[in-house]
């Protein structure tokens, strides 16, 4: 009985922290319409800020808490809302995900730089280890009671705020209908700002409680967002009461599972995936969302290269690799190989997100599956392993997509990340896979072609990349490609034209995942030694973000993304330890740059180059013929045609 009480209190205490974090997530999401992926990261930075004042500057706990919770955290929330969130189209799931993910990654970069993990840091317990009460013979620490008390206070506070204050009632109004509130003269932007301040403060409180009860760890605190999400999904990210219930269930499940079950064998890593399993159960039980018309963001055309153009670019790329490879040595050569292999796998992001408009955050997990499948079935480097990896990947992709297909892009994206976490703990960490030791993978062996040397392997990988990206572009130009783009531009329109959206998404996920596992197999064959650390699910966030940075609708962006992720560590060794979070900064701040150039780096640059070339041609044509008239078809046709439109419209109605 005593054990039961102790476990229950421990579970409630953990659930209380989840509840505080999750309620912050719900408040920001419902009022601003943007899911804050950086919620955990804000809590994490605030926990470090609290450490800074409490320990480093020797402030008293109440003073440090007041400063962080009432000033710094709300300030950061407001800054993010006014600087970024406000400019987002809330119906553009891709953009809102990418931007808040970018904030998360950038904040991690800031934390790694400001508080290098080479130094151990701890937050003291608020009341010391001996402060406890005895219930039924079990010692209950004050810390646990504090968390529970604060969660209850949060619940009461939010209830009073939303039901008894004018501004709280107005915020609930925004949740019901943003446009209507705007028409009634309330400013949704103002209320959204307030919701981000409250959300950040609650995130900070949860972060500080987690850090003082458990540990002050950048990654773990940042990923609190996933557990909060699981709790909040019970209330579909809207209902605070159900969110609290979800949080308590999660906390209790954690306590009872660790207290009563002997977790051995393959279940040894069950504990961290409890929230994920909980999430999957909820996702399966939720009813399908209905399609809504009139919400899709307006997308713009991006240049799609012709078959000839893509083959020409591919040939140039292969030639470049062949010329450059003799000049590359040692680790640089190794990392460039790795980068191209990652680029092959990252083509799945172009297909899935760039063309299909779906966001999956589980690329590295599929790379890992691909590498493992290749090691299991590609005996002696047999290409059969590549084929198996691609085929199993297709089946896997369809299965992973199924539970969330009926839901919105946001839930789908988050559930893929949760799947990555599940796969990491329950698969990659298993001793039979790569949990006990490194996984040795043979280099691919093709008849008549030795890829044993890294230079030859690089050229081969580049050929594969060139062919596969030409293939991806061919898909884009095909009927299926147009249909994909149609679903991205307007799901409601595509469905009312007769398209089975679920089937289309399953096919899309299958094909994209197949590319990822295929790329993973080549990654494994290139690296020859991989560990479970190589397939940490958090890494998936980086590759998706970096492909977005370079231009998610452009295959070249996959290569650029893969190469930059592989090469960044080489640069990092040459810069001071304080600034080694280069990958975080590059990805985080790079992705924030998308606010200005949503199309990404590669299309922006190639557009610039094309217009320069056109200008040059015009200039030459001008000097040749003595006139300044532009040659037909070289300038952007849309602008030139606009004056005709008024006329043409009358003609249109003639028919």
């Amino acid at each position: 009985m005593g054990e039961f009480i102790g476990l229950t209190i421990a579970g409630l205490s953990l659930g209380a922290i989840y509840a505080i974090a999750a309620s912050g997530l719900v408040v920001t999401y419902t009022t601003s319409g943007v899911f804050n992926f950086a919620h955990g990261a804000i809590g994490m930075v605030m926990a470090f800020a609290y450490w800074q004042f409490r320990i480093h500057e020797h402030w008293s706990a109440p003073a440090a808490l007041a400063l962080v919770l009432l000033v710094i955290a709300p300030g950061l929330g407001l800054l993010l809302q006014t600087g970024l969130v406000r400019r987002l189209n809330v119906n553009d799931t891709g953009a809102t995900l990418v931007v808040t993910l970018a904030v998360m990654v950038a904040l991690m970069g800031v934390a790694f730089t400001a508080w290098p993990q080479t130094v151990g840091r701890m937050l003291p317990l608020f009341f010391g280890p001996s402060a406890h009460v005895s219930v039924g013979g079990e010692l209950i620490s004050y810390e646990e009671l504090i968390s529970i008390g604060l969660a209850v206070a949060t619940a009461i506070g939010l209830r009073v705020f939303f039901y008894s204050t004018r501004i709280g009632i107005a915020m609930r109004g925004v949740v019901d209908d943003r446009d209507l509130m705007a028409m009634n003269g309330r400013s949704p932007a103002l209320l959204s700002g307030l919701s981000w301040m409250i959300g950040a403060a609650l995130g900070a409180l949860a972060g500080i409680l987690t850090a003082s009860t458990y540990s002050l760890d950048i990654i773990n605190l940042t990923l609190l967002v996933l557990n909060s999400f699981a709790a909040a999904m019970l209330g579909r990210l809207r209902n605070l009461i159900l969110t609290f219930v979800g949080a308590v269930v999660l906390g209790l499940a954690d306590a009872y599972v660790t207290g009563y079950l002997r977790l051995t064998g393959w279940l040894v890593h069950l504990r961290p995936v409890i929230p994920t399993l909980f999430l999957f159960v909820i996702l399966l039980a939720l009813p399908a969302v209905r399609l809504r018309a009139g919400t899709a963001p307006i997308s713009k055309a991006i240049h799609v290269p012709s078959a000839a153009e893509s083959l020409r670019n591919g040939a140039a790329l292969v030639a470049l690799a062949a010329i450059a490879s003799p000049f590359l040595h040692g680790t640089v050569l190794g990392n460039v190989n790795e980068g191209v292999a990652l680029g092959i796998g990252a083509l799945s992001v172009v297909l899935l997100s760039g063309y299909g408009g779906q966001v999956s955050l589980t690329q590295y997990t599929f790379f890992g599956f691909g590498a493992w499948l290749f090691s299991e079935t590609g005996h002696g480097g047999s290409p059969v392993g590549l084929l198996v990896a691609a085929l199993v990947g297709a089946a896997l992709g369809a299965v992973v997509a199924l539970p969330a297909l009926r839901l919105r892009g946001l839930e789908l994206a988050l559930s893929t990340l949760a799947f990555g976490q599940l796969a990491y703990y329950m698969f990659f960490l298993q001793p039979q896979v790569m949990g006990r030791s490194d996984l040795l993978i043979p280099r691919l062996h093709l008849p008549g072609l030795s890829l044993r040397g890294d230079r030859m392997n690089l050229v081969f990988l580049t050929v594969v990349f060139a062919l596969l990206s030409a293939g991806v572009l061919a898909v884009r130009r095909s009927r299926f490609g147009r249909i994909l783009v149609a679903t991205k531009d307007s799901q409601a329109a595509a469905a009312t034209l007769g398209l089975n959206l679920r089937l289309t998404k399953v096919v899309l996920f299958a094909v994209a995942t197949s590319i990822a596992t295929f790329g993973g197999a080549l990654y494994g064959s290139t690296q020859q030694v991989v560990t479970s650390d190589d397939f940490q699910y958090v890494a998936s966030l980086f590759i998706v973000l970096i492909v977005y940075v370079f231009g998610v609708s452009t295959p070249g962006a996959a290569l650029a993304g893969g190469l930059s992720l592989a090469i960044a560590p080489l640069i990092a060794v040459h810069i001071p330890v304080r600034f080694q979070a280069i990958t975080y900064f590059m990805t985080g701040f790079g992705a924030l740059g998308l606010m200005a150039h949503p199309e990404g780096v590669v299309p922006a640059v190639s557009q610039l180059l094309r217009s320069k070339v056109a200008a040059l041609r015009r200039a030459r044509a001008g000097t040749d013929s003595g006139t300044t008239r532009s040659p037909a078809g070289s300038a952007a046709p849309a602008v030139a045609l606009v004056p005709d439109m008024e006329v043409s419209h009358a003609a249109a109605a003639d028919a």
């Binding site: 209908d177 446009d179 209507l180 028409m183 209905r290 399609l291 809504r292 018309a293 009139g294 899709a296 307006i298 997308s299 713009k300 055309a301 991006i302 009927r479 147009r482 249909i483 783009v485 149609a486 991205k488 531009d489 307007s490 409601a492 329109a493 595509a494 469905a495 009312t496 034209l497 007769g498 398209l499 089975n500 959206l501 046709p637 849309a638 045609l641 606009v642 005709d644 439109m645 008024e646 043409s648 419209h649 009358a650 003609a651 249109a652 109605a653 003639d654 028919a655």
Partner: protein
């Protein structure tokens, strides 16, 4: 038997009855008008017919077949197509690709795209968009964007065509020409259900009109009957419909919407595409207000 029948369809949003036991019908071969002030539930009715909105009660029949629980895409394959009040164009495609994608979707299992391409060209010619075929859809002004949505809907070879305010953004002459286009499309055997605030267009194109007000079906009849109907005049803010025709004002609260459309049309083509979907009232707001 009418091609489309709704039987006692009700939709409740929270405490508001967006539609309250509405039974309407649309016959093949003619244009049926569905009119009413803002908030009457017209767009909600379109959503129910196409399957985007599951009704709280009631049934939808296409050609006598009950489709109430049928998924959106399967209704489309039965021959239901629509345009949207707030544009849902495929913005990253050209006008031709918009239409051709729709043709592709309806010929999904065809060996190749030849038939779809031929149909695309034919439709672009028919609605008069051929010379704009290669223009990116997101640059189109409202009127042309709506025409593109019509062309796209036609590409699925619909038997029932639901048009949600296709006339906003058209001037007087264009709207007369548009009415003739609708009549000729109907004459080929299609049933057309037209939601429109432009009364001239409704009166010119429709041979039968159904009137909704606050989710309730208040009248149906020929244009002449509707014009003379007292409860219809009452619904339109008390003003007799006929008296307001001279100044081309749109019926009731719709006047401001359509006016906004006209303003947009004059204010530079590029801005049009971007603003088009914000020009009209939020369909849900329409229901709740």
């Amino acid at each position: 038997m009418p091609l489309l029948q709704t039987r006692e369809v009700s939709v409740r949003f929270g405490g508001v009855m967006a539609l309250d036991g509405v039974s309407i019908a649309a016959e093949a071969g003619m244009v049926t008008g569905l009119i009413g002030p803002n908030g009457a539930g017209k767009t909600t009715m379109f959503n129910v017919i196409t399957g985007l909105q599951v009704p709280t009660a009631g049934r939808v029949l296409i050609d006598g077949q009950d489709v109430t629980g049928m998924p959106v895409h399967r209704r489309a394959r039965l021959g239901v197509a629509r345009t949207f009040q707030r544009l849902e164009l495929f913005g990253s495609m050209t006008v031709r690709e918009n239409v051709q994608t729709a043709a592709d979707i309806s010929d999904l299992w065809a060996r190749d795209g030849t038939a779809a391409r031929a149909r695309t060209d034919e439709i672009l010619e028919r609605v008069g968009l051929r010379h704009l075929a290669d223009v990116p859809a997101h640059t189109l002004p409202t009127g042309l964007a709506r025409l593109t949505e019509l062309a796209r809907a036609l590409a699925t070879r619909p038997r029932l065509l639901l048009l949600d305010e296709p006339g906003s953004g058209l001037d007087t002459t264009e709207s007369e020409q548009f009415a003739r286009l609708l009549s000729s499309l109907a004459a080929e055997g299609r049933a057309i259900l037209l939601v429109e605030h432009d009364m001239d267009l409704v009166m010119a194109a429709c041979s039968w009109i159904e009137v909704l007000d606050f989710g309730v079906h208040i009248a149906s009849g020929t244009p002449e009957e509707i014009r003379a109907n007292a409860s219809v005049q009452e619904a339109y803010l008390g003003g007799p419909v006929g008296a307001r025709e001279g100044d081309r004002s749109r019926a009731g609260a719709g006047a401001s919407d359509a006016g906004a459309g006209d303003r947009h049309r004059r204010s530079g083509a590029r801005a049009h595409g971007a603003d088009a979907r914000h020009a009209d009232a939020h369909p849900e707001a329409e229901v709740r207000s």
